[in-house]
Amino acid sequence: MLSNMLLGRYIPGNSFIHQMDPRAKIISVLFFMVIVFFANHWLGYLLLILFMLSVIKIAQINIFFLFNGLKLLFFILIFTFLLHIFFTRGGTTLFEWGFIQIDSEGVITGIYITIRLVMLLIITTILTLTTSPIELTDAIENLGAPLKKIKVPMHELAMMISISLRFIPTLMDETEKIIKAQSARGSTFMTGKLKSRVNALIPIFIPLFISAFKRAEEMAVAMEVRGYKGEEGRTSYRELKWGLKDTSAIVIIILFGVMLFLVRM
């Protein structure tokens, strides 16, 4: 089930979007998040959808694959939609039964808000699908550099994020192995009463913590003997390159924002 989740997953590729500077991607996504709220009637939303479809096309992501991966989040969308249908009043009343009343305004707002949410979900998913975690970390460290002036340890934070990201698959494997090992010993955390299920988690968490601490310790020694002393005097193998395509992407998104603003009613 978890393996079908797309949020936070990276799929290597060579599209225009893959090749963009991760900083440009983060900035674009932030802009887009603001722009989404400019749309306030059908024409604006239509433009948004068209824009999104072209981004998906440029990123060379299979659209069915994308929607399939977001399926797990659909219940949030349906919930939002229903909330608006039942509680937003205005326009003509379409349906009335007991205390339930559905107004035309409710349906329209519900649809619009849901579109906005879908847009936000898709754009962030595209960001993580096309940007490797290490690039994201680099970009965050770089964009956050001004924060160092107020003593925010950006380098350490970025190093922590990057090592955690690197260990996630290792720890996932380890968790799976331990679950299987305990389950082979007849542990039943999948069935039974809540209390016994909670108890059955102990044989999984204790070995997992022990191993994580051991790994952390060995990792610390390995980093030390390879000369890690913190940020000072350190160079970086990775280089962020801001190119023409990054500037043009930002310009396009600003122009799109202006256009959306102009068609507002």
Binding site: S3, N4, F65, E174, K177, I178, K180, A181, Q182, S183, A184, R185, G186, S187, T188, M190, T191, I202, P203, I206, P207, I210, S211
Partner: protein
């Protein structure tokens, strides 16, 4: 109790872009009381196969029959739990599964899960701990104070205490020093003979396969390439090389000396046998 695997197909991430066929229409049987080895290159499907034998993974298609119990795509947890009583599994680095405060409690974990009473579980735990040479006055200690090799023994005792009729062992000697390696392999052989259980060993070490097992299942790309007597399969140098497996040292030596005219009575299974057979040949010639 026999295990019958019929037309077993196992697919990971079924119906996604990451789909991967790990086992492809595999059919074979494991008979009661024999010592089997499942061999093949990394990624050949060995570890997927053994996880099907005690219900850790359920078939995508086909089925696995453990005695009267059948494991299929939608088999219920209840049945799987039954299967686990009969088929025990020692994972690679089993010491990583230890969790309880004392050695005794950790070994009792499996038997208690199988529905035994506290007394019965304690009895079982003590029986198998002493069988593995753990002094009973030590079993109130924490398992985490022990050395890696000792911790592994405790973990193995934890599986044996469930008294499975079939014992699956996955790379039991990984990371051990050579002395402990030999001790561990001898231990499994003794257990197999003394309790007449089936052992299914998964390993990359062809020397161990040749010395200790009766039968071999050779896997490649999710298919059963060949099965039969260890003596036949592990002496087939071409077959092993084709599947990126090592030729057992003793087989290579026996083949090499036979080219020089040393005619041993039969194929030796380990160095000691080689020495005895060689002396016999030398004395007869003299």
């Amino acid at each position: 109790m026999n295990i019958e695997v019929s037309a077993l197909t196992s697919i990971y991430h079924h119906r996604t872009p990451f789909e991967h066929i790990a086992l492809d229409e595999l059919t074979t049987t494991f008979e009661q009381g024999k010592y089997y080895a499942v061999i093949g290159r990394t990624g050949s499907g060995k570890s997927t196969l053994i996880q099907h034998l005690n219900g850790l993974i359920l078939p995508t298609r086909g089925n696995v029959r453990v005695g009267d119990l059948v494991l299929k795509k939608k088999t219920k947890q209840k049945v799987i739990h039954q299967v686990k009583k009969h088929v025990g599994m020692v994972f690679q680095f089993p010491e990583h599964q230890l969790f309880d405060e004392t050695i005794l409690k950790d070994v009792m974990f499996g038997p208690l899960n199988m529905g035994l009473s506290q007394e019965e579980a304690k009895e079982r735990a003590e029986k198998y701990l002493s069988l593995l040479g753990v002094p009973l006055d030590q079993i109130g200690r924490s398992p985490f104070d022990l050395s890696g090799g000792q911790m592994r023994k405790i973990a193995i005792a934890g599986i044996l205490a469930m008294e499975p009729e079939v014992l699956i062992v996955d790379e039991p000697t990984a990371g051990l020093d050579p002395k402990s390696h030999i001790e561990t392999m001898k231990l499994f052989k003794e257990i197999q003979q003394e309790f007449n259980i089936t052992i299914i060993l998964v390993t990359h070490d062809m020397n161990d396969v040749f010395e200790y097992t009766d039968e071999v299942k050779l896997l490649g790309s999710g298919k059963l390439i060949k099965e039969g007597r260890t003596l036949d399969i592990l002496t087939d140098e071409k077959l092993l090389t084709d599947h990126y497996l090592e030729i057992p040292d003793i087989v290579r030596l026996a083949h090499d000396v036979s080219k020089k005219g040393v005619a041993l009575n039969r194929m030796p299974r380990n160095t000691d046998e080689f020495i005895t057979l060689y002396k016999k040949w030398r004395d007869e010639r003299a």
